[in-house]
């Protein structure tokens, strides 16, 4: 099939695939390729894991000095 997507092409489309912005025709060709290619299936899965892990790097805590500074700011504004 002349129109067959290569692995090299597929890896550049992964973000658009995951974001749901690929044209339907390209999406179909990509899914056909994925159905028969273990390497690309793993690549897609690795990208999903990458996104999940990136979502875990948040550091959430407000330190005491930051809280004090912000409360001072708030009280100043409240008096205005």
């Amino acid at each position: 099939m002349a129109n067959e997507m290569t692995c090299k092409e597929l890896v550049e489309l992964v973000t658009e695939y995951l974001e749901g912005t690929l044209p339907a025709e390209v999406r179909t060709r990509m899914e056909q390729h994925l159905a028969g290619c273990e390497g690309c299936t793993h690549y897609l899965e690795q990208m999903r894991q990458t996104i999940r892990l990136t979502g875990q790097v948040r550091e959430e805590n407000l330190n005491a000095a930051q809280r004090d500074d912000l409360l001072r700011l708030f009280r100043g504004w409240k008096k205005e």
Binding site: V11, H42, D69, F74
Partner: protein
């Protein structure tokens, strides 16, 4: 109570100048806001200053806030606009024109991973296939070391890629929100996100499968 209702209640209290509501707000968003500020300014104290200015503008703007976007997006937009204003007069701030991708179509995966046309094998198919990570124990995948690898890789990215991946995958904003906040097109946003994710994936592959 759903998130939207929760936010409406919080806004009501804030407009009545309720201090506990403000404490809740900063606990929820200040760490994210500092992270955003650090994308635009390298200097830590300058970043804190930018956040303080933003909070004051938030308080002063509460009554005018139309609720067409989420509170988070509104706050992020205020900070971004302040950083933009600053970048025109302060060289320590990121220049916002740098947010556009460079237009080069560089591959995000090492071309050496694919068969060469001259190899006699299927051209542009994997020569070295990516492996499944399914067999790696979850405590390794989610370990502090793995996460610090991710953090380091993101810190080493060009500023525009770092900004987009932080907003999309760390802060989990929608692409539309990111485009509005940064003033870039959806397609540019996607190009930057794609390059950034591919770099982080590559770093994870090197880290999780060092024997490869």
């Amino acid at each position: 109570m759903d998130a939207k209702q929760d936010e409406a209640t919080l806004l009501d209290l804030l407009r009545q100048r309720d201090e506990i509501a403000f404490t809740r707000l900063v606990e929820q968003y200040h760490p994210s806001l500092v992270r955003l500020a650090r994308l635009f300014v390298q200097d830590e104290s300058l970043a804190e200053e930018l956040c303080q200015e933003t909070w004051l503008a938030v308080l002063q703007g509460l009554h005018g806030f139309q609720e067409r976007s989420s509170l988070k997006t509104w706050i992020f937009t205020i900070l971004t606009n302040k950083a933009k204003t600053r970048s025109r007069r302060d060289s320590r701030t990121l220049v916002f024109s740098d947010l556009e991708p460079d237009g080069l179509e560089t591959p995000t995966v090492d071309p050496g991973r694919f068969n060469d046309a001259s190899s006699g094998l299927r051209a542009d198919h994997w020569a070295v296939e990516p492996a499944s990570w399914a067999g790696i124990p979850e405590e390794v995948v989610l370990s502090g070391e793995t996460l610090s690898k991710v953090r380091q890789t993101i810190e080493g990215l060009p500023a525009n890629q770092r900004t987009v991946i932080t907003l999309r995958d760390v802060e989990e904003l929608s692409s539309q929100e990111i485009c509005n906040i940064l003033g870039i097109s959806e397609s540019n946003q996607r190009v930057l996100l794609h390059r950034a994710r591919a770099r982080v994936r590559g770093a994870l592959e090197d880290y999780l499968q060092p024997e490869r």
